[in-house]
């Protein structure tokens, strides 16, 4: 089971935080801060795994990857393989790359809902569902099309169109 997915920048500002067990918002912020303090003290060229029983409860492990100014963090328990989780971060980043072409932190900041769409296709209720980035992209594109379609109606409200076209 995956317990949480987090993206934060090197100053500790969260860019995305999703917790798969319910936690009140203060606790969530506390956890984000806790994870950041642990990560910021890690030197370069060390392993990407951490035991964080103190923050997330027994049998919790954390895998993180540092890309430019962002930390991608995945918190999981004993039923997931560590290296597979590392791969999963890779999949996520690749998909984001395909989505935004040369993704950078600003893309993630301004596309909050699209980020969630992508993440929801990969991790579903704490389980890993999809690991092929092209499949994920297909689904994400479909969803964006649907959204765009449903959004475009809102510009012309029914009353106006009715008055004009007299349907």
């Amino acid at each position: 089971m995956i317990k949480a997915v987090m993206m934060m920048n090197t100053q500790g500002k969260p860019r995305l935080a999703k917790f798969y067990d319910f936690l009140p918002v203060e606790k969530q912020q506390e956890l984000i801060r806790g994870v950041f303090s642990v990560l910021s003290s890690r030197p370069e060229n060390v392993s990407n795994f951490l035991e964080i029983d103190s923050l997330f409860g027994p049998d919790s492990r954390l895998v993180y990857k540092h890309y430019a100014t962002l930390y991608f963090v995945l918190v999981f328990d004993g039923s997931e393989n560590e290296l597979a989780m590392l791969d999963l971060i890779q999949v996520l980043v690749e998909t984001l790359d395909k989505c935004f072409s040369n993704v950078c932190e600003l893309d993630i900041v301004f596309n909050y809902s699209k980020m969630h769409t992508v993440l929801d296709e990969i991790v579903f209720g704490g389980q890993v569902l999809e690991t092929r980035s092209d499949e994920i992209m297909k689904a994400v594109e479909e969803i964006s099309k649907l959204e765009a379609a449903s959004n475009s109606i809102s510009l012309v409200p029914k009353s106006v169109s009715g008055w004009r076209g007299g349907r």
Binding site: L16, F22, V46, F49, E82, F124, T131
Partner: protein
Amino acid sequence: MDNLFQRSLEDLIKGFRLQLLGDSSFISRALEEIRREIKATDLSTKSTALHKLSYLAAIHGVDMSWAAFHALEVVSSSRFHHKRIGYQAITQSFHDQTSVLLLITNQLRKDLNSVNEYEVSLALECLSRIGTRDLARDLSPEVFTLLGSSKSFVRKKATGVVLRVFDKYPDAVKVCFKRLVENLETSDPQILSAVVGVFCELASKDPTSCLPLAPEFFKILVDSRNNWVLIKLLKIFSKLASVEPRLGRKVAEPICEHMKRTVAKSLVFECVRTVVSSLSDHEAAVKLAVAKIREFLVEDDPNLKYLGLHALSIAAPKHLWAVLENKEAVVKALSDEDPNVKLEALHLLMAMVTEDNVSEISRILMNYALKSDPLFCNEIIISVLSVCSRNAYEIIVDFDWYVSLLGEMARIPHCQRGEEIEHQLIDIGMRVRDARPQLVRVSWALLIDPALLGNMFLHPILSAASWVSGEYVEFAKNPYELVEALVQPRTDLLPPYIRAIYIHSVFKVLVFCLRSYFSAQESSSGSSSTVYESILNLVNVIEIGVWPLSGAYDVEVQERAKNVLGFIGMAKQDIAKKVNLQDNEAEACRVTAFMEDAFSEELGPISANAREKVCVPDGLELEENLGDLEEICGKFLKPVESDSVSCTDKITFSVSNLRIRDQQEASSSTSLPPKESSSLLAEHRKRHGMYYLTSEKNDPDSNGTPNDYPPANDLASEILLDPLDPKRKAKHRKSRPVVVKLDEGGESRITTSQAKTKQESVTDDESLSRDIQSALLVNKKGKEREKCEGNSNLVVQEEETSRIEKPQNSEKKKKKKKNGERTSGKHRSRRRSEVASSSEQVEIPDLLL
């Protein structure tokens, strides 16, 4: 059209980045805006406001539980965009206590039945994150349908939600399990990995219920080449093999095949982990696994190194040879820059420790400790301490060396483990008689070092050192220097309770020296002047050193200082009276003799459950409320004199007098409690009766005086001699000194309470496992029946009769779903049956063996 001017989420984010007001004021302004907008009737406005609110809640920690009802309204919209925002808000903020949770059931049902697969997936994800028991119960039919949907996208997500549904509502197992198992045979790899993932979680909770599916898992294990699927399968088999050891034999081969063939490191690692944790009896598999571990250890990639060490530490308890083979890699890893790697290496090194190499390994580790950062340094110290002290120091042969190691540890700059070292110094002193001289030597070295007094982490060690020096002063080479060290002015830096120990040790040293002086006087005819000089010197030094403390702020320090000074005052007169050599009645002489007696009784370790061993005397009621005793015994007892300790003008230290008087009191009074205290108690009870708890077991009034307890030393008579191992070559080795051990039966208490808590958690999962087992049984029966008759109705009757025959705990009312309903596929009615499902153990079919 008011949402034309509404700020969207993008505007909010942009605004946040450009704002100069300050974060919290910006957020509160935005919140005000949101609260206004969200009350609008127009769904677009509402949904944008909700979207902004979810963003603020996730990223900035703003509470959004007040918007629960608005989220429901947004979700009911027909537009996909709104639905998405609504569902996102719901999954983020709803929890078991949300009051409007009931209202969502219908909306979820509608969306689960929708044609649009993306709406279905939204609803499924919502259910998987917030699903409660009621939601799971009401929506399990829909989930059941979706598990058989033609669109693989939907089936995949439905599989994901099944876990939560099963978790919250175990009865759903009867309905959905069959479909789930069918999905095991699918060719779509993503659905397969989802199903296997669900089984992995189920197996972690209860392996026995998934055991009947082992044949199917085995087939997939052999055939599949998808790494994700294989990893999950390995985890499942690891859990299954621990309950069914015969499974291990069969599975070992395919696992080895995978290990040899695959390139993916994740799969290799998982195979290795499975082999060393659950299949550790299969030599060939273990050898292969250890070879793979070695490959990991020599890699440059820090991740692989860490994982290799981790796997090695899992293998260590049963396969120490694997660790020893890779000893160099482990020692090298101690100096790695990755803290994880260092820690694993340390644990592995500790696992390798035996009697022969303990000094060598400790030497290496001490060197590392001196060079490392404080955190790792303390880790090293604590692990060395815990390994060496395990099982009453079973691993140590040369206690002199170990004691000097303890002293060395105290000198390490970053050492913060003072309490543990203190504990061990005193413990060794009490248990190992032969180590006492060395202990005193090491303590002396610690005490005379003024630099240590400044380090507050080392104060516990100094207190232990001073106690040891005082207690075993007979081994000290030079008591004079010892006393100087104990009264040096820099001891001001110590906290009061440690200074009190210092003063008491000074006292013990003084008594020892005086005693030897007096006994030397008695035996020899004339006293040499040098001895007289030295004893006078000693007494003077002590007096000068302790005198300032008699005005100390702390009462303990003050009292002990005064005691010492009083004793000195009395003793000085007799030292001066050199002439009265034969006068054995000299008070100081007698008193010193008494004191020495008092201090000569050996203190020994006490077993953890010593108290239980004190048997309650016959006829002693420990549970009674003794307030009534007042009326019966009031006439007979007189109140005890409160001035049992007489205060004289001369400060005398008459501990012996006190003791004698205590014994007299004990013999004169009966075993009933003194009248005064019991009457007060009865009065208090009358006035405040309702605040009293039910009578406690160990009512202190009911026990006899402390003298009824056997002194601690009687328990020390259960000395277990440590036999010399005859196989060991006794070259120039000192024989191991005797270590006093007591049978610590305390562990049994801990395990029973653990067992109790285990039982409680098991009953929660019992219902789920029962259902899975019964579902599997029905599956098997159903398959057979369908083969013979092809009529599903008979299966239903079978089930019913079998259940009626076995009436079990009818407190739980369970819904019954008939298999026949699947074929009808229409509106399902709920029926409550009085009969619960059978709870007998499912026979695990011997299909594999």
